[in-house]
Amino acid sequence: MRETISEINALRKAGVIGQSAIGGAMGATFYLEPVTTFDLDIFVLFGGAPLILTLSPIYEFLKSRGHAAEGDAIMIHGWPVQFLPAETPLLREAVNEALEIDFEGVPARVMTSEHLMAVALQTGRPKDFTRLLAFVESKVADAARLDEILARHRLTDAWQRFEQRYLSNP
């Protein structure tokens, strides 16, 4: 995945995208045990327009470097990468406040565990709740920081419902 991250960094260097961060299952894998997934979710900020209507500049840039589109992703050095616009305030914050890491000599950015949890809660699919439970069980997140994020993005009620449904003792 080192080469994949290098190509994503090249997109940023060329000005095609703004700041970006790894999210989804591969983001969660930074904090938890390895999670089965088929793609790498890259959440992207765009400098100019608040909401980009097409991801084609990304695809054109990567195609010119020999990477092929595959369904809704683009294959970069063996990894199907899905570029997702960080279009909600929570996602924008998650990208802006992502953790800077070193991936075998290549700089990368991964969403914080608290943001990954908040995003999972907001997305709300069964697999997101499964991931959220894994985060709760691992105790890797800072509870106070998570509370702040949930409150700021009006997710406190959703968190309470999640707690009642999955974490309260019968």
């Binding site: 995945m1 390895p34 990894w79 890491i101 991936f103 691992s138």
Partner: protein, 57 residues
Amino acid sequence: MSPQMRELLVQKQARRVRLAALPYPDKVRIVAQVREAALRIKAATASRLATKTSFSR
């Protein structure tokens, strides 16, 4: 729950903790291996299903 089952669950949890503590590149390599295995299984299942379909015709 039997003591044996309880012990198994404790061991499973300990394994998850050990895996979570691995360096990120190592965990990514595990994800890649699992992904490749899953794709091979999917391809094999698809070809078997195709064979079954051709038999049923």
